[in-house]
């Protein structure tokens, strides 16, 4: 059976009718929705269910795929802030760069960004049972990467030069941040600590790196064999020692 494809021209369209059209296409059984001429429309794929693939051509606005549960969104361009915000499952692939708070509070699914991300990437990502969110950044990330992180996996590959983020993992109490190359101790926030990447860890992240490389047409081999810094919480209970009772 041929995959059913629906094309939507988003030129000059407000995000609400755009999302209505995307929803309708998915409800009507489209496997692939191609959205052309996107110019900053927010909330694309917001709360969307199912397993369709949405291709976004242009610049996606803020909160792309927020609350999304299932579909795949592929952005052929950049995305504004917080793609994958509070996302439950599914996948977001961004061929360009993205703004601040990428994957904010994401509980499950994957966000792959080929370019750079802004400040507070992966903030408060969390995990639950089989749900374990994954954020992979091809380029660099800014300060407060993985802040308040409570679960999941955050990988920064630094393909276009070393990352200069500071305050990494402030308040982290779960999950792990894996950064290609060395990270200076001074760039870690209180509450985060560096540990060596073990062979087990390397095996664990290999399929993620292969998938990322596959999505962007990169050669995975140099990435699989590279040196990485693994950053984890110094404590699962960062506030445990702060309080006493009346």
């Amino acid at each position: 059976m041929m995959a059913k494809q629906v094309t939507i021209d988003a030129k000059g369209m407000h995000y609400t009718p755009l999302n209505q059209q995307i929803r309708k296409a998915v409800e009507d059984g489209a496997d692939e929705v191609v959205v052309q001429n996107v110019l900053g429309q927010r909330f694309i794929g917001d709360g969307l269910r199912g397993n369709a693939t949405i291709h976004v051509y242009g610049v996606a606005g803020g909160d792309l795929a927020m609350f999304m549960s299932g579909p795949t969104v592929i952005v052929h361009g950049n995305a504004e802030h917080a793609p994958g915000n509070t996302m439950d499952s599914g996948k977001v692939v961004i061929h360009g760069s993205a703004g601040d708070a990428v994957a904010h509070s994401m509980r499950g699914g994957k966000v792959f960004v080929r370019g750079n991300i802004g400040y507070r990437g992966g903030i408060h990502m969390k995990q639950y049972e089989a749900q374990r969110p994954i954020l992979v950044v091809g380029g660099s990330a800014r300060t407060f990467l993985g802040e308040y992180m409570a679960g999941g996996l955050l990988v920064v590959l630094g393909l276009d030069g070393a990352m200069d983020a500071r305050g990494i993992g402030s308040g982290i109490h779960g999950g792990e941040i894996i950064i290609r190359g060395n990270v200076d101790d001074a760039c870690l926030a209180a509450g985060a600590k560096k540990v060596p990447l073990t062979d087990e860890d390397r095996k664990r992240i290999a399929p993620v790196i292969r998938e990322f490389a596959g999505d962007f047409g990169l050669d995975p081999e140099p990435l699989l064999n590279a040196d990485y810094t693994r950053i984890v919480p110094a404590s699962a209970r960062p506030f445990a020692g702060k309080y006493t009772w009346e």
Binding site: F43, F67, D88, E147, A240, E246
Partner: protein, 505 residues
Amino acid sequence: MSSNLGSMPLRYRVTIDREQCMECERCINNCSYGVFRRDGDRILINSRKCTACHRCLAYCPRDAIMLEEQPCDYRSHPVWTRATREAIYNQARTGKIILAGMGSVANLPVIFDHLMLDACQVTTPPTDPLREPVELRTYLGKKPSHLDLCRNSNGDVELATELAPNLMLETPVMLGHMSYGAISLNAQVSMARAAKETGTYMGTGEGGLHAGLYPYQDRMIVQVASGRFGVNIDYLERGAAIEIKLGQGAKPGIGGHLTGEKVSKDVSRTRMIPEGSDAISPAPHHDIYGIEDLSQLVRAIKEATEWKKPVFAKVAAVNNTAENVAAVARSSVDAVVIDGFRGGTGAAPRVFRDHVGIPIEVAVASADRELRRQGLRNEVSLIACGSIRESADVVKAIALGADAVYIGTAALAAMGCRVCGNCYQGLCPWGIATQRPDLVERLDPDVASKQVANLIHAWTLEITELMGAAGINSIESLRGNRDRLRGYMLDENMLNVLDVEPVGA
């Protein structure tokens, strides 16, 4: 940890009248704090463990138990009170921030108690609610600034304005946000049933929506807080309305923190976090770093739920509440909840609980006035909360400009809570603020839901009577009607802020 401070004076002393006691051991069985134990032929008492929860007194068949607060005096001193001294001893021993349960204990005047309600005499006759209807039905949500009408093909006039979704309440009293985890599922189910029975709504708090509440989901206001615990598209779609928690009256400006000990298997499933892990809600939402971002979150939620549900935002009452509320009112929200500084909580730093924020009476009055001044009052409903103790407080809050109120502690008290403030121990003998199965079982939703419904029903009757006495036959005529209030022993500045005349004026 070693210190030279020794033990603190007892907070409470429990005694048993041995003449009355029949040694039935109900006290031993009921006290989850371990005050009572049997030793041979005697029931022994360890008063140090007592929290004054009254469970033993309530279930003693002979009224044999007596409780005394502060049986040991300190040297009396107006500055160095018992509370200040004991806080110092605690912090000298631990070096930590003191957390406390329930609302503020600061001994500050309650403005509600200095506001008197009006009643009709001869110039206008009172309304008898038995004879004439007094309408309490309340709609929460945006109201159109004007109405467009059109004529249909039959020549009838129809409304052309598209109305925003509103919540319809049969009484202006709702049950506030207390999360599963902070309170038990039986407590939540009891309140949800009461909400359904009385035609009102209940908040989930930031704890997700347990499957046991799905039968009442059309009566639930689901909360989205900074931790986003339990929030997914199913959760948003189940709720009758969605509330974004920006702040809390008991601890303005700081986040929340459910300790890992309270994250049981069932709580973990509902919050969607690993069992035993700390649930940390940061102080800000990390997708709201400015007022324009709030609008984006509100719209993200509306877009996800296809603009079918009202979205509320809750802020703590602080110095610039009026400006905050006016800003929030421009962010597409349908209602703004203001939580006063006496608002309850499972746990808050004592220093915040007793020192940060402003009273709800002032906050709601100034917010209502600012919204009217900016022509925004129709854009949002105002919900007041934080120490609404009785029906008179509801009437006064509405006369000061609220559309409805949330109650929290009052609803817990209706289920047995004695406001002992030890919620954080997780041992609530009333089965409310605990997850221990044997304790939770003590709270029977068939019984407790009736008690909560009774309270709402009783308040509704009293509100009806108060309105009737004032000759007001619909809640709209009471809303913001400060002329029906008079300030008693309030200073001129306070009267100006409240926009209320003094008694006699």
